[in-house]
């Protein structure tokens, strides 16, 4: 399934709503491009809403990690919202839960940004 990414402002935070699969090729490339576009616009507080992302492979995981380090290097924060069970489990077994801040409620997530 094609990956789609749309974004909206929620105060100082940009919420990126994604849907589809983040996999090798176009999906990973779109995630990278979206985050680079946002950083280019000085939007460095980013909340990735993955509620409608039902599949991520190792390439997609790598892109999430790459995005996390890029945003951090710009002095910002990248957080995750609404993980599906599959992606939750994937982040758990890869120990990336210790890296990413993950939220299940958007208001709480928005309030958590510095």
């Amino acid at each position: 399934m094609t990956l789609r990414a749309t974004y909206r402002d929620a105060g100082p935070v940009t919420v990126v709503d994604m849907s589809g699969r983040i996999t090798l090729g176009d999906g990973s490339a779109l995630l990278r491009k979206t985050l680079l576009d946002l950083l280019g616009q000085k939007r460095t507080r980013i909340l990735l809403n993955l509620a409608d992302v039902d599949y991520i492979d190792s390439s997609g995981i790598g892109e999430l990690v790459s995005g996390y380090t890029s945003v951090n290097s710009h002095g910002g924060e990248l957080k995750l919202l609404h993980l599906t069970k599959k992606i939750h489990d994937l982040l758990q077994i890869t120990r990336l839960f210790t890296v990413f801040e993950v939220h299940s409620d958007e208001h709480t997530a928005l309030r958590s940004f510095r």
Binding site: R4, D17, T23, K33, S58, R95, V99
Partner: protein
């Protein structure tokens, strides 16, 4: 192999789309073999990772090289072989992606996922001189699970938007 074993083999181009083709092909075999949805997901993911490994690390994304995928279905397990035309690699030299110093690495999780998701996993020298990944999943006990496909969900949209 027992007389009832089934064997399917395909030669794939070193191309991103081959990853999807391989995943789809193996998912169909897994569903037909009676694996439940969660197991189909794990098999599909493992095949993806095996072919990504062949595409990227083995064949170095060189289009003149091929990827050989074989699926065997015996009365006890489903076995998948992924062979590339690279230089091969030693499994013991693959960095542990769970190690603290590798957590922020942007690559290197494919082997880990295949190991985690399949019942058996190994890498041996392939007939092409490259690596051959061999992984298998034990078939569900008869009557224990019903055949089921991998679920896919849709998503909403807003503006501005980008699409891959």
């Amino acid at each position: 192999m027992s007389p009832e074993s089934k064997h399917l083999e395909v030669t794939l181009e070193t191309h991103v789309e081959s990853v999807n083709i391989a995943e789809e092909m193996c998912l169909r075999v897994a569903e037909a073999a009676g694996f439940a949805e969660e197991e189909c997901y794990r098999i599909g993911m493992s095949v993806r990772e095996g072919v990504i490994n062949a595409f990227h690390y083995g064949n170095q994304e060189r289009p003149e090289k091929k990827i050989y995928l074989a699926v065997e279905l015996s009365d006890s397990k489903m076995t998948i072989h992924v062979v590339d035309e690279g230089k091969g690699f030693n499994l013991r030299e693959v960095p542990d992606p769970l190690a603290e110093e590798n957590l922020l690495s942007t690559s290197g999780r494919g082997i880990f996922l295949m190991r985690a998701f399949m019942d058996e996993f190994n890498v041996v020298p392939g007939r092409t001189g490259g690596a051959e990944i061999i992984m298998s999943k034990n078939l569900p006990a008869p009557g224990s699970q019903s055949p089921n496909g991998q679920g896919k969900s849709g998503g909403g949209s807003a503006t501005p938007s980008q699409e891959a």
